[in-house]
Amino acid sequence: MLGPVPDEVISVRGLSKIYPQQANEDGSALVAVDDLELSVTRGEIFGLLGPNGAGKTTTVGMLTTRVIPTTGVAIVNGVDVVADSARAKRDIGVVPQANTLDRSLTARENLYFHGRYFGMSDGEACEASDDLLEQFRLTAKAHSEVHQLSGGMAQRLMVARAILHRPAVLFLDEPTAGLDPQSRLALWDIVGRLHDEGQTILLTTHYMEEADRMCDRVAIMDQGRILALDTPAGLKQSSSVNDGKAAVMQLWLSRSLDVLLPVDEETSDGDRRQRDAAERALSELVKAAESVGIPLPEPPDEVTLETVFINLTGRELRE
């Protein structure tokens, strides 16, 4: 067996999560995460990219002690997150998708008590809170109640809270979902600065641009599995020119499907499956056309992660 990779902060071996009660249509148990292997090194920003339901949040849940894996091992900063979850939590900072700020406390108190939960003295917690409020441009809102903060401010406060105890890994679950464009840029800026300071970050996203721009390495996930894992540039290079042509055709067809079978947050699971099936059928059609020599349009100048995703899954990555 191979020894531990030097400076490996997250090590995941054979990690699966099966929900027996949440059966699929055919009655089989729902496999949210399927035999995952991952290794994240210190100081990198690692992205899990995939559509809703790909298993990204379940993966983060397992790595942050909140979801018990069905099989496999997850080690964060040398600590087994299942066997010693209380110790593992010391090394973990989490920004979940929902606003989880303590509404009974002010913005500053959210930071202060977080520090106290992690064993800081009164003085240390005060100092760390004030520093972070300053750094995240929240000093003016220090004594505001949580409900008085805008979405972007709440998100910044949650990031500040998550890094206050200097975790070995910062988990950001869909950090910019639902943020306005300006707040999204501000958050990217924050993540970039943390990266410069050497913070290891694992983020999940379904925004191609976010993964491309922020991450050192990206794992493309779909249906609980990792389909490809490389640097954004590496992923794009691995897509051949012909793949690119097929992907562009596929993308155009997908866009026209948006008109016929639109999908948004309120779309039912049944309609989503129908749409996915239609996309797969189109994907087959494109491949068939290609194989009999029907000319496909030229690929764009630059292959994007979106085309990579379409090549891998036969469908478009939707929000």
Binding site: G61, T64, T65, R66, V67, I68, S85, A86, R87, K89, R90, I92, V94, P96, A98, N99, T100, L101, D102, R103, S104, L105, E109, N110, F113, H114, R116, Y117, F118, G119, R161
Partner: protein
């Protein structure tokens, strides 16, 4: 024990203390709501039953009249304040924070075992139940116009009070982790009211002797043991259930409720 193990141990207790500090800061902030909420109903009861009724000549309290009734009420009202504040101060925030607002998240991610985080909830609820009892006692003992007979049995009071407070908070944790926040009105209507009316607040348990089926049915109500216990602790001269029965039931109930509450908490938090 290794240095690291000692370090981790003290770390966990400092987390526990910080969680408790947070709850006390929030309680302090909400005192303006906590005190009236705790004291209003007992004050109204005392006023109507021990001042208005005797003054307008409406008989109450059976043999011995209003004075005896005021005496019965003291233990019952303290018990009621303890059990309801213990239950509600744990169950209501928990049901909301677990399900609707997710704001328990940061405390769940604090570096301590989940069982210790659940125990903190019980400790915090028990302290609030204790404060409630301490606020209600003077209201019940000194407001009535009629004289009443109270002399404190310190050994009983000092042992029974913590037990009663912990039992109530553990019941709150059990309910709070099982409860869907939408069913909170049910808790208030269908649980609190019967608990109160059949909780031996307004009468002593032994006085139910003429209605044997009811006397046995109310034994399922935890408030009965608290009311009887506080009456014994405040030595009101009213006959109570034997102390070993009160202590026995409370000790067993506290142990069972702590275990169900802690395991319920873990189940709700983990996936």
């Amino acid at each position: 024990m290794t240095v690291e193990a000692v370090d981790a141990g003290t770390g966990r207790w400092s987390t526990f203390r910080a969680l408790l500090l947070r709850d006390m800061v929030v309680l302090d902030r909400n005192l303006g709501e906590f005190v009236p909420n705790t004291v209003l109903q007992p004050l109204l009861l005392v006023f109507v039953f021990t001042y208005v009724f005797p003054t307008i000549g409406q008989a109450v309290g059976g043999e011995g009249g209003a004075a005896r009734f005021s005496t019965i009420l003291v233990g019952g009202l303290v018990a009621q304040a303890v059990i309801f504040q213990g239950i509600f101060r744990v169950a209501l925030p928990l049901a909301r924070e677990l399900d609707v607002t997710n704001e328990l998240e940061d405390r769940v991610m604090a570096p301590a075992p989940l069982s210790l985080i659940a125990v903190e909830k019980i400790a915090s609820g028990a302290l609030q139940a204790l404060f409630a009892g301490m606020i209600v006692f003077p209201a019940a003992a000194f407001v009535p116009a009629t004289p009443l007979f109270v002399s404190v049995d310190w050994p009983v009071l000092l042992t029974l009070t913590p037990l009663a407070c912990v039992a109530s908070a553990a019941l709150g944790l059990t309910l709070g982790t099982q409860l869907d926040p939408r069913s909170v009105p049910i808790l208030a209507g269908f649980v609190a009211l019967p608990l109160a009316f059949f909780g031996a607040i307004f009468y002593s348990w032994s006085a139910l002797e003429p209605i044997p089926w009811l006397q046995y049915a109310v034994l399922a109500n935890p408030l009965v043991y608290l009311s009887e216990g506080f009456r014994a602790a405040l030595s009101t001269g009213i006959p109570t259930m034997p102390l070993p029965v009160i202590y026995g039931v409370l000790v067993v109930a506290t142990a069972v409720l702590c275990l169900t509450g802690i395991s319920g908490f873990k189940k709700r938090v983990l996936n």
